[in-house]
């Protein structure tokens, strides 16, 4: 309990300040979250879902927290330009855990759509927020969610009203910027009403070479016939720790695609809890990881088929080199009477060095009989015959390896729906494999 204690003490001492710089909706659940956190602590390696990542160790160092919500003197619109060519997005920034509210590109959004900080949106959408905030993300079931709920002081709110289809992708760039080691607790609430459609891109970048720890809880509610595309792209540095818990709830005939791409990071833990509440829904969850040096990436998913007639697809691919550690655990849960479920899960991994470690654990838990569920998982290397074939045709070995690695990863990238994002990723992945890390031409983040 050593790691926990410093945060329990902190909350006991500073809860007044935390609440003062936060808002009612968030404060309402804060004390319960604190109790839940005290009861559970951080999940340890003995917790089945967290056995591949040592969470208490990640929280042990002394991080600074911006509890007084001091403004960071930075203008992201002028400093950063992490855009995707050919993809015009509605661009927003979250600096540390504060939504950057100045110069909001409001005009680009259809009427009724809200992309704002929770604190601003409470004034206009208090009911929606109160009905959804911290409802899916159950603090009694996960110590990290409880931790985030206990300390989160503000967040991003995205609301797409009934029937509204947004053409332009909403891009939110999370920037970590600090002169001291810093912990941030981000919070995102997404509500997509009936028949609405939205695609989103979250980019994680770190601007300073400091130790950052970012926890993040995303709750997404997708109503009947609605469509949500949620892309998360991480390009941070080795000292960065990212812990992301994503909760998604799907109602009838809804469609969700959730893509997580980790191109560069320190230690990353991504949890996805997706639940089908209405029949006829489908989800596509894809993950792509490229890691080397001492990077650590742990993707953990639970797809809960609580009702029948839903389809889930998962494809996760890892390329590991040097001392990288990769883990994937995916559980497909089919409840009793969730008949006619189709579920498909694939995890494929390439280990390019003898010191890289891969843990994979695809799981099925099935209580209904009229279902078709399968999972497959492989760990291996590039095909020698293919390498030889290419070399024989005059392609040098390194190039041949790169080509095969692209081909391996491209299978995931090609499943993404945003074509410009796909192109951009092809480009980034190629650069990543060639060792030109974080060097995009126009962005200040990269220089």
């Amino acid at each position: 309990m050593q790691s926990e204690q410093q945060y329990i003490d902190l909350y006991n001492e500073a809860q007044g300040m935390i609440k003062q710089h936060s808002y009612d909706v968030l404060n309402k659940v804060r004390d319960k979250a604190f109790e839940d956190f005290k009861a559970q602590g951080f999940p340890t390696k003995k917790t089945e879902r967290y056995k591949y990542t040592d969470i208490p160790k990640l929280f042990a160092p002394d991080y600074g927290l911006n509890l007084q919500r001091l403004e960071i003197p930075v203008s992201p619109y002028q400093s950063f330009k992490c855009d995707v060519p050919n993809l015009s997005t509605s661009l927003y920034f979250v600096v540390n855990d504060q939504f950057y509210t100045k110069q909001l590109p409001k005009a680009q959004l259809p009427e009724g759509v809200v992309v704002d900080s929770l604190s601003n949106a409470i004034q206009t959408h208090s009911e929606v927020i109160a009905n959804h905030y911290a409802k899916l993300a159950d603090t009694s079931k996960d110590g990290l969610t409880a931790f985030n709920t206990m300390l989160a002081q503000d967040g991003v709110f995205i609301y797409v009203p009934k029937g509204v289809k947004i053409d332009r992708t909403i891009q939110i760039v999370n920037i970590l910027r600090s002169d001291v080691d810093l912990m941030v607790n981000r919070r995102v609430l997404i509500v997509v009403e009936e028949g609405a459609e939205v695609s989103m891109l979250f980019c994680d970048d770190s601007a300073d070479d400091r130790n950052f720890l970012a926890t993040q809880v995303i709750e997404a509610y997708v109503a009947d016939n609605a469509k949500l595309e949620l892309n998360c792209l991480e390009e941070t540095h080795l000292k960065n720790v990212r812990i992301s818990n994503v909760y998604i709830e799907q109602q009838r005939n809804s469609r969700v695609s959730h893509n997580v791409i980790t191109l560069h990071n320190g230690t990353t833990r991504n949890t996805l809890d997706l639940v089908f509440r209405g029949e006829g829904s489908e989800c596509f969850c894809n993950g792509c990881v490229i890691a080397d040096r001492h990077q650590h990436i742990d993707n953990n998913t639970i797809i809960n088929h609580a009702v029948g007639n839903c389809v889930s697809n998962q494809l996760y691919k890892y390329v590991l080199d040097d001392h990288a550690v990769g883990a994937f655990a995916g559980l497909i849960y089919v409840a009793k009477d969730a008949q006619k479920t189709l579920s498909h899960e694939v995890n494929q991994n390439l280990c390019a060095a003898s010191t890289a470690h891969m843990y994979t654990q695809p799981m099925l838990e099935i209580y209904a009989d009229d279902v078709q569920c399968d999972h497959g998982s492989t760990v291996g290397q590039l095909n020698d015959a293919a390498l030889f074939y290419m070399q024989q045709r005059g392609i040098d070995k390194r190039e041949a390896q790169l080509l095969l690695e692209f081909a391996f990863v491209n299978e995931v990238i090609d499943k993404m729906e945003l074509v410009p994002l796909r192109d951009r990723l092809h480009h980034l992945v190629e650069k990543r494999f060639r060792g030109e890390l974080d060097k995009c031409s126009c962005c200040k983040l990269c220089h």
Binding site: T355, M358, Y359, Q361, L364, A368, H375, G376, G380
Partner: protein, 481 residues
């Protein structure tokens, strides 16, 4: 046998439900219930054991007291009162004069289809018959001894070959390994001991038959198999128990040591009493089975057909220590009514160029829960390790569950590890096709299930394969609907 006769037989067997649920009325010397150091000493004393073995038991017992039953399996394991069990039951304590074995016991084993008279026995199978805590008889010992093969109960081996037992006992499954292993190490009673000397190919199948008879007892057998360099042995294991309303505990350990170029095949047809259709009673089968492939080019193959037991919790495992060693695991686990199974295997690749194959078929029916749980671990030095796993589950009925929990830990870049699993119900097209050709529903299901399990059943020795096929049909009786 024609197809018709075969079906007739299956139906007959099915009507009897659990065929082996009778009890034998034989005087059994049972020590009082409860577990403490004195009980451990008493068991050791009754078996006339040397000091070192008593020490081993006591160490295990003391360690067991510090442990707790794990909660992680996907099972509703009832609370076991370890003080309400008697840890030693000896049906041989009072045998009639001039007789080697009590005729009642002989009759029992005849009824189970295990004749203890060598002339009656199937030629080519030597049997070690064990009831409760003691070995009743081991057949064909002489013929085997001529080749230098030692096949006897472990109690006898402790007396006659103490150096071998001492060298290998607890080296594959140490007493600290897990909760039930510690318990077994403290109170174990008879099991089989097999030693195949260098270069010997065992001329017949060796087999153990385990029977629980006495009430309120547990069975804690311990089996140790050592295959010396260049040897071969095929070993079969069968088991049954009477029908009782309360759960009976069976916590066994099987240790197998495979030395250079040796090969061991271990087959189990597990048919402990599964409890009645309401989930009352039945055997709790909590077993630690492990093989250590110590030598180069060694081979070990586990084949199991699990149809019995209220609860089955076991992972027959292989440690592939020797270079070029190969391990296989074939399993069919059937659960019906309220049965629960959490079973699978562990393949630990340590040596270079090691290979393992896992084929697991789960079939769940009624209100049962059937889980596959398996680990494939490739250690950093296990270059060129290769694993293929395939786990399929078949669901019969909407009230049962089928689960798959595979773990793969790969720490070497030259390893190739593959896993695939599917879960589905019997295809309606296949059933329709059979029906259309005049095969009734029940037979069609039997046919399809047997076909589904064929990959595994084919790996069983002849005598067992027939038995296992019938068992499958019987266990699934009445699941149509």
């Amino acid at each position: 046998m024609s197809e018709n006769n075969n079906n007739e037989y299956v139906r007959k067997v099915a009507e009897q439900k659990y065929e082996f649920g009778f009890t034998t009325d034989v005087h059994t010397d049972i020590i009082p219930k409860g577990l403490n150091e004195d009980v451990v000493r008493l068991i050791s004393q009754k078996k006339g054991e040397p000091e070192w073995l008593l020490d081993f038991r006591l160490k295990a017992f003391r360690h067991w007291q510090t442990m707790e039953m794990p909660k992680w399996p996907h099972l509703n394991l009832p609370e076991i009162d370890y003080q309400a069990i008697s840890y030693y039951a000896d049906p041989l304590a009072k045998k009639p004069k001039n007789k080697e074995i009590d005729p009642e016991l002989e009759k029992t084993f005849d009824k189970l289809g295990i004749p203890l008279e060598e002339r009656l026995a199937l030629s080519g199978v030597a049997v070690d018959a064990i009831m409760d805590s003691v070995s009743v008889k081991t057949t064909f010992k002489k013929q085997l001894a001529e080749k230098g093969i030692i096949f006897c109960s472990i109690g006898e081996a402790v007396k006659e070959h103490p150096e071998l037992v001492r060298q290998y006992l607890g080296t594959v499954v140490p007493y600290k390994d897990n909760f039930t292993a510690a318990l077994n190490s403290a109170v174990f009673s008879d099991g089989s001991f097999v030693y195949i000397p260098k270069g010997v190919r065992c001329p017949m199948e060796l087999s153990s038959y385990f029977r629980i008879n006495a009430i309120n007892t547990g069975q804690f057998e311990r089996t140790l198999i050592i295959a010396d360099d260049d040897s071969y042995v095929s070993y079969l294991e069968g088991c049954t128990a009477p029908m009782r309303d309360e759960n009976q505990l069976h916590a066994a350990i099987v240790e197998i040591v495979v030395l250079a170029n040796a090969e061991v095949k271990y087959s189990t047809v597990q048919n402990w009493y599964p409890g009645d259709e309401n989930g009352k009673g039945g055997v709790l089968n909590l077993v630690t089975k492990r093989g250590d492939l110590r030598g180069v080019n060694s081979k070990l193959s586990w084949t199991q057909v699990e149809t019995g037991s209220a609860i089955t919790w076991k992972y027959p495992s292989c440690i592939l220590r020797g270079d070029n060693s190969q391990a296989e695991f074939y399993s069919v686990a059937v659960t019906n009514n309220y049965q629960e199974a959490d079973t699978g295997t562990k393949m630990i690749h340590l040596g270079k160029n090691t290979k393992s194959t896992i084929i697991s078929k789960g079939i769940s029916a009624g209100k049962s829960q059937n889980s596959y749980r398996g680990l494939v671990r490739v250690a950093p030095n296990a270059d060129n390790a290769r694993n293929y796993s395939s786990c399929d589950s078949l669901l019969l009925g909407s009230t049962c569950g089928a689960h798959t929990f595979p773990y793969m830990d790969v720490h070497n870049d030259s390893a190739i590890v593959e896993h695939e699993a599917t879960t589905s119900k019997i295809s309606e097209d296949q059933l329709f096709y059979c029906n259309q050709r005049g095969i009734p529903m029940e037979d069609a299901i039997g046919l399809i299930v047997n076909g589904y399990a064929k990959d595994v059943l084919n790996k069983l020795p002849m005598e067992f394969a027939v038995e296992a096929q019938k068992l499958l049909s019987v266990t699934l009786e009445g699941t149509v609907g």
